[in-house]
Symmetry: none
Subunit: 198 residues, 4 copies
DNA sequence: AATGAATGAGGGTTCATTCAT
DNA sequence: GATGAATGAACCCTCATTCAT
């Protein structure tokens, strides 16, 4: 029983890891299910025991990978003992941007696929991942002593701004390398936050 | 001669128009070259006389369609006689957002495919389109009497923020409908601009 | 012991009932063994403990279902107290046609799969079903006081004529609805019988 | 032009002939499109230039093959100079039964697939085949000097009776070989016709 | 320049069957 | 006896691309 379930978990992990490897290396559209199962070392039919199709495995991967990135950033923030909402937000962004700069294929994968809808449903409010982002995000706001006109829109705008500008600057260094972008980006985020304080 | 060239232009236009229609209706990946040539009323081989492949025709379409949107916004701004750089930028954004709200398939097509690289190369500095965006954009800044730390990054951040937030709000009304987003967005853009003034 | 056998019988019945449900709903070729075991609530391997393959369960179903139809017709005839061979045959046909008109999926299933060979082997001479059709059929002929040149060919022709004409008329109302066919069919059957009397 | 069309006709014929060969040898369900194109010596994609799927080629084959059988019977009848409606019908049946006895795979293919609907639409009223069955069938009735209560039902019943009884007797000699069936069958058909005269 | 018939590799998906538990 | 995870061959179908006309 434990043995079988263990085996199943191994198979699913092998498929997830292989799929991530291939998706980032050659893109989702150039990756066939045959590619995945061949490299994962399982039979083709086995894929369909665990995932509905290519887009099912993609969504599960996004949630998994994005959750890892957020969790790392969060724990780094706690270790660093950052205080103050704005500084915390900037720290998180800085850390995440650094992670993605180190791992460009991960950046490419997440940026191209992480919509606000997936972010909200798969990460924020879903128990699918073993970390509760909603609580992190709520407690940060609550403990800040500050209030905002519309926190969700603020978070939304920050995420979209960071995500889309970093995508271009990290991957293509265009219009500038991410190192150059950072000061402007951080300043802009602070502006956005200040602008929405009540 | 003129007749033949005319004929060629007609074929190319038919292919471009049909491709746009199908790309927006059913997505690029679901659109085959067969679909395009069938609906355009030309032979399959003819496609390859004008375009290298599906992605070649897509890039040419983006430049064409995005240029139309920008040009409309620009001429509306001139007609309205807006003065002052910030107000001009907000007017342009407002107009473009309205255009894309009216034409969601166009929004979808542009947002999913318009990278900063394509924006810069195909629209800004390219003579491919019959309108010189670079001059528009330069003259607006020059006549404003204001100077910015890094105008290109400013434009880049504004475009990315607007593009990515509107995409989600217009198409999915998530996290809020675009109507609700607008005041926050406009205010944020003003913050970004003020923050980068020298 | 009795408990285990009971359990086995239950499993086999669940598989038979589910298979019939699916065969009639979606056709034999569209029904997979997975479909059957899922709906029946048993494991996939269990199927192979009771049946060789899909066609084995089909044949057993035909015998079971056809026998039910014949038995109902026969008992209705006895209750109605019909006398006279021709009238008895017409009554049986009429009753069976009515049953199949009420239950078109059953008609479809039987008609498409009931060959004379199966009819003879699985129904007429087999002890597989708990009713002895051969005796019914023999006694009807014997008590009629009439003799026929070749009773088996007569029965064969009647069954084939009824089966094939009703199939089209009940399911497709083509060339006519079964209601319109009936008088011609009954008259024709009487002709066939009269024509083969000795 | 003529050359290309000629080539196309050859390809289509190769596919039709190969499909018939395989359908009759190993059954439709055991025949894959790969089998057909391999044996026909064309590429897989070519199949789909001529037929929608396996069932499209089957229907076209039925019409083609059944029309050949009917046409042969009809011309034999004319050569033999048979007169009198009943004798003509019996002659046609006899001839067709003989053809199908000689060619059991053809019998199997036609019997299993020829429904009244296909018979009517593809053979009787369709210009798809180059012979006009409707006119043959009409003129035979008209020139007979006899009238029937419902000619279509009469034809329907005759065809269904002949088709279903011969199927079993020719292929399985069950309940009797077709040679033995014939006198009873012919007599029965005459009975059916007489019974429906007005 | 324009055509469109032909290609065939490769896509996603299904499913009867096996066998270790 | 019962299970159901795993298999992998086989299925149908698509489609970018070529090339003789």
């Amino acid at each position: 029983m434990g043995k079988i379930d263990n085996n199943k978990k191994q198979k699913e992990d092998a498929l997830l890891n292989t799929a991530f490897d291939l998706f980032t290396k050659q893109g989702i559209h150039k990756t066939s299910i045959s590619d995945i199962v061949n490299q994962a070392g399982v039979a083709k039919g086995t894929f369909y025991l665990y995932f509905k199709d290519k887009y099912d495995i993609r969504n599960k991967l996004i949630a998994k990978k994005a959750s890892q990135v957020f969790r790392l950033a969060d724990s780094a923030m706690h270790q660093a003992g950052i205080a103050g909402l704005e500084d915390q937000v900037i720290f998180l962004i800085d850390n995440i941007v650094d992670q993605l700069t180190e791992n460009k294929s991960l950046l490419n994968f997440i940026s191209k696929n992480l919509s606000w809808g997936i972010f909200k449903n798969e990460l924020l409010y879903s128990g699918a991942t073993d970390i509760d982002f909603y609580n992190i995000y709520s407690s940060i706001f609550e403990h800040s002593g500050k209030t905002y006109k519309n926190p969700e829109i603020l978070v939304f705008m920050i995420i979209e701004l960071v995500n889309s500008t970093c995508f271009s600057c990290i991957l293509y260094e265009d219009p500038v390398p991410v190192k150059e972008l950072k000061p402007y980006l951080f300043e802009s985020v602070r502006q956005l936050m200040k602008g929405m304080e009540t």
